[in-house]
């Protein structure tokens, strides 16, 4: 037990490693602040495009979305980071993460927002158009606000997943929380920094998980 505590919950090591972890936490937050808006922007583009009736838009769009939902995000990231330079395109770790998340999480946000848009009754659009709003204005002021409200739990849930997913940036040596914890581990020869990073993630995300489990329970119940 003593060995276990020394190896996993060593307070002295936590103190030593804290500056390194703190840098990592800041990067994780910065990363999240970058990729969440990127993903949402991608999602809005996809969702709005999906309202176009033409099959020439609809089907390619569906293939696009399903492709990026089928491809594990880490595969995409490594392709962008380690593959593209061979074609003379080197966008670096941050660039690879930005593009990868835009494509991957954009597809998920897109699906959620599309479901939200479809949940807004047709009468809403007709009413808005009857008052002279353009289709763009109708989308922006009437449809999207209601769509977002209808799928809010899914949006929050996806955002939680996106923030968790930023940990894969450690694989391309971007110094976020997990990467920094691994660095600290290799310096201290002790697993405590990784445990500490896990605790930081948990403290950061637990409130969101609690909120979600309430919202989801209500949502599933109302589907009956």
């Amino acid at each position: 037990m003593e060995d276990f505590l020394l190896a996993f919950l060593n307070w002295q090591i936590v103190q030593e490693a804290w500056p390194i972890l703190w840098d990592g936490l800041k990067s994780t937050l910065a990363l999240s602040a970058m990729v969440v808006p990127l993903g949402i922007a991608g999602g809005i583009i996809l969702a709005v495009l999906s309202t176009l009736p033409s099959p020439w838009v609809r089907w390619p769009l569906r293939v696009w979305v399903d492709t990026f939902r089928a491809l594990p995000p880490l595969v995409l990231l490594i392709f962008l980071f380690a593959g593209l330079p061979f074609a003379g395109v080197d966008i670096g770790a941050w660039g690879a993460v930005a593009v990868g998340f835009f494509l991957n999480t954009g597809a998920y946000y897109g699906e959620i927002l599309r479901a939200g848009i479809e949940s807004v009754p047709r009468g809403q659009i007709e009413a808005a158009r009857s008052t002279g709003l353009t289709s763009g204005q109708t989308m922006r002021h009437v449809v999207l606000p209601q769509a977002v409200r209808n799928v809010l739990p899914d949006l929050i849930s996806n955002t939680l997943e996106v923030v968790k997913l930023t940990s894969i940036a450690s694989v391309v040596a971007l110094p976020e929380l997990l990467f920094q914890a691994r660095q600290a581990q290799s310096v201290t020869y002790n697993a405590t920094p990784i445990v500490a990073a896990a605790v930081v993630y948990f403290i950061l995300l637990w409130p969101v998980v609690r909120l979600l489990s309430r919202l989801e329970n209500r949502q599933l119940a109302s589907r009956r």
Partner: protein
């Protein structure tokens, strides 16, 4: 070389592809096995926890809720790294394969417990009362009346969540498992050519594209129209 030739030589290099195809196929098999083991263990454990929770034993339920929250809040890669790089310093060792399996099975357990539980609680109280009034016991009511209704409701969210978590098998490459991504990434450094990554991406699409389409179909098929 023109730009196009350079592009195909990099990403669709026939010689490299041929050489590493067997490795990718091996990786494919490993990914499939890992995914199936995760699904079986994760869903079974999740259902078990949800059923235990139905008995409403206070301290046990707090423990279940905390466990579920924990594995919903932690990034899967953090759990994998913790198991693989952390446990050895406590004198325990798990292979990369076992670490990934355990981590993702725990994550799927957490998410599926939450979904199963939401399904169980969404069955109206009247169903319990009607069954109990005919003399059915708690367990029989849960098994024959409540669970069949709950499961139907949970199929769409469960399918999508299972697909999302199963895709996480690619994380195994981080802990040196020669799954599709592991094999492909390794081959890139050997051959100094990214074509194996192209193959890897195609392999993942072959594996998961049909599943994603299936998930979409299930979502419409099981939509609760009443």
């Amino acid at each position: 070389m023109t730009g196009w030739e350079r592009f195909t030589d990099s990403f669709f290099n026939a010689r490299v592809m041929e050489q590493y195809l067997p490795k990718i196929i091996e990786g494919f098999g490993l990914t499939v096995i890992l995914a199936l083991l995760i699904i079986v263990a994760g869903l079974a454990a999740g259902l078990l926890l949800a059923l235990l929770r139905a008995f409403a034993i206070r301290p046990l339920n707090w423990l279940i809720i905390f466990t579920v929250d924990l594995f919903r809040a932690l990034p899967p890669l953090v759990i994998i790294v913790l198991l693989f790089f952390g446990l050895p310093s406590a004198g325990m060792e798990l292979s990369g394969f076992a670490s990934t399996w355990l981590a993702l099975a725990l994550v799927l357990m957490a998410f599926s417990e939450e979904i199963f539980w939401a399904g169980i609680t969404s069955v109206p109280k009247g169903q319990w009362e009607a069954a109990r009034s005919t003399g059915l016991g708690f367990v029989a009511t849960l098994r024959d009346v409540v669970l069949p209704q709950a499961l139907r409701l949970t199929i769409p969210p469960l399918t999508n969540r299972t697909i999302a978590i199963t895709k996480g098998t690619a994380l195994a490459s981080v802990v040196a498992v020669q799954d599709i991504l592991g094999a492909a990434h390794g081959a890139v450094s050997h051959s100094y050519n990214p074509s194996p990554l192209t193959m890897g991406a195609i392999a993942y699409l072959i594996l998961f594209f049909p599943v994603v389409v299936l998930g979409r179909w299930i979502e419409t098929r099981f939509a609760w129209k009443r």
